[in-house]
């Protein structure tokens, strides 16, 4: 269930309370997020929409522990991340967050399997265990046969699949997808969205996604609109999403 009220589900996987983010540009404060509240349960698939500059990516960065809020609190699976040190936050990200970016951001000098293996290098898994995990992740995204291909030898859609495999290989608590189809044609975008839906449906992943594309957003359980730093609207688009999630 997704809620944008301060009195939302206290047992939600992700709880955001009174989130503020202010940037300074040329000495002038620019408030991007203003007292934002959000609850997301395990297995939810949430899409954030909004015009450019509305704070979608800022919200995603805050939820992923890549940035720190000016005020407010974010709690994930009981871990309050807003007061974590930089080092602890890095460790937390490695355990809990899988990132998927618009431009895929694969390391061009590593093969698909080596790219997918990167998060596992931070674990205590043996080489053979890492190999097994990588093969499983590539199987999920349907790229078993491309394990030894370099990113330049893959299409955009395939690169994004590798990025998704990299995001899920360490079995994170939730996935953050920033415009995952933004650089793809419609057919590839559909394939990627089908894959993300499958991750939610079959693998019980929690996914938070930023997109400009209403067609893509419509495939999420819940669509939240960010305008002027506030979640002003939420639309339930799928029967799978719990009722009463939108404010």
């Amino acid at each position: 269930m997704v809620s944008v009220n301060a009195d939302g589900n206290s047992k939600a996987l992700i709880q955001v309370r009174g989130l503020n983010k202010t940037y300074r540009r040329g000495g002038e404060p620019i408030q991007v997020l203003q007292g934002l509240n959000l609850d997301v349960d395990k297995g939810d698939f949430v899409a954030f929409m909004g015009p450019s500059g509305s704070g979608k990516t800022t919200l995603l960065n805050l939820l992923g522990g890549l940035d720190v809020p000016t005020a407010g609190a974010i709690s994930v699976a009981g871990d309050e991340i807003t007061h974590m040190s930089s080092g602890r936050l890095t460790e937390w990200r490695a355990r809990h967050v899988g990132f998927v970016f618009q431009m895929y951001n694969l390391v061009p000098v590593l093969t698909a399997s080596q790219n997918v293996e990167l998060p596992l290098l931070l674990t205590r898994l043996s080489r053979s265990e890492r190999k097994a995990h990588v093969e499983a992740a590539l199987a999920i995204v349907g790229l078993q046969g491309r394990a030894d291909h370099f990113p330049r030898q893959l299409s955009g859609g395939q690169e994004q699949r590798v990025a998704i495999a990299r995001a899920v290989v360490s079995d994170p608590t939730f996935l953050l997808c920033d415009e995952p189809t933004g650089d793809l044609d419609r057919k590839s975008a559909d394939e990627i969205m089908a894959l993300i839906e499958e991750l939610v449906r079959q693998h019980k992943k929690t996914v938070l996604m930023v997109t400009h594309d209403p067609v893509v957003a419509a495939r999420a359980h819940t669509v939240l609109h960010l305008e002027k730093g506030v979640l002003v609207e939420a639309a339930k688009s799928s029967p799978g999403a719990a009722a009463g999630g939108a404010a």
Binding site: L66, E91, R95, M103, N105, V107, P119, L121
Partner: protein, 382 residues
């Protein structure tokens, strides 16, 4: 190490740049090794000089001679074990460029004073019996392809000039690394027989072997005091001080070589530092992703430093390998013009240490920059 594949992949992503950077290190290390062995060659006299030897020369200059009669007086000073005397003989073998040092020696005492320069007893015996006999250092013998029994003609440029002929009776070897094996020795009696009257009974310098290095200062003072206010006043120094003064005649070689070496390494630092900075800047997005997925700041710094150190290490090995191959050849071609060029393990270790230091410094600033990179800012720039 599980990160080695990532480091290797990053190292080899721009192969031409990698080769050029390795080449910079290799050339710098080769140059460093060459300068270091030249410096060592010039300063070795002081370094390997025996602690229990003194050298006595004419107080005016080494060009001025000393009477042979001084030998017995020096020998009788308490603490003196043995004394030998020598003369410089500046002759030419076939061509002026074939330079090598030739000394007229005192056969009776030569081996007592210079015990580290070894001649087999049978060859020394033949030398003693042969008035025109000569002993050559192994390096010089090899340089000219001389064998025992060869007739060696030299053209004297002093002592009345003329052609002098010698029989090569023996070849000496040094027992320590860096011992000079370029000298050519011949009999004092043959020299006395051939030179004009004005040179007879004169020695270029005396070398004194002491019972103990502790006697050095006292014996040196005694020698100089004994001959003070005579027509041939003396100046006695330890062998190392004598060698250092000799090198100083050529100018401040140490400063010159240190200056060139410093410039080489500073330039190398700028080149590799710039290369590493460009390499890191090109990968800002990738580094940001690594940090986003959980790589710590220290890991990112480690990757950059590991790359810089790997380049320094491989480039250093290549440069020093080239030096090991080329310096003996260069040394052979410059034999006579320079003292023997010896590559020591200490020098190799120092050179590699410098290479690693430059590698570390060149990677440090870009590495710290990568470490401090804010993921959010870097992702915004992609």
């Amino acid at each position: 190490m599980k990160f080695s594949r990532l480091i290797w992949a990053n190292l080899t992503r721009k192969k031409v740049r990698l080769l050029l950077t390795l080449g910079s290190f290799a050339v710098a290390l080769f140059l460093f090794a060459f300068l270091a062995v030249v410096r060592d060659a010039f300063s070795r006299g002081g370094g390997i000089a025996s602690a229990n030897r003194l050298v006595t020369i004419n107080r005016v200059s080494i060009i001025q001679s000393l009477p042979l009669s001084y030998r017995d007086k020096i020998q009788n000073i308490p603490g003196v074990q043995s004394v030998t005397h020598d003369n410089w003989f500046g002759a030419v073998y076939q061509d002026e460029k074939n330079f090598f040092p030739q000394f007229v020696i005192d056969p009776e005492n030569q081996r007592k004073v210079y015990s580290e320069l070894v001649v087999p007893d049978d060859q020394w015996g033949n030398f003693l019996k042969d008035r025109q006999g000569a002993i050559a250092g192994d390096s010089t013998a090899k340089r000219f392809g001389w064998k025992i029994g060869d007739r060696i003609p030299l053209k004297a440029t002093a002592y009345g000039g003329g052609a002098w002929e010698f029989n090569l009776d023996g070849i000496y070897h040094g027992t320590r690394p860096g011992d000079d094996e370029t000298q050519f020795w011949f009999q004092w009696d043959y020299f006395e027989e051939r030179v004009p009257q004005s040179f007879k009974g004169q020695a270029g310098w005396y070398t004194v072997r002491l019972n103990s290095p502790d006697d050095a200062l006292r014996v040196a003072k005694t020698i100089d005091a004994d001959f003070a206010n005579s027509p041939y006043e003396t100046k006695t120094d330890t062998e190392s001080a004598f060698a250092e003064n000799w090198v100083k005649q050529f100018g401040n070689i140490e400063l010159l070589i240190l200056s060139i070496g410093s410039v080489v390494f500073f330039t190398l630092l700028l080149v590799t530092g710039n290369t590493m900075a460009i390499s890191v800047r090109e990968r800002t997005g990738e580094l940001a992703i690594l940090k986003a997925i959980g790589f710590r700041d220290g890991s990112v710094l480690f990757f950059v430093l590991a790359e810089a150190l790997a380049i320094a290490l491989v480039g250093g090995f290549v440069g020093l390998g080239l030096a090991l191959l080329a310096i003996p050849i260069l040394g052979q071609s410059m034999s006579g013009m320079l003292p023997p060029l010896v590559i020591s393990k200490t020098m190799l270790a120092t050179a590699l240490g410098f290479a690693l230091l430059v590698g570390m410094c060149s990677g440090l600033l870009p590495g710290i920059g990568a470490m401090r990179l804010r993921v959010v800012d870097a992702l915004r720039r992609i």
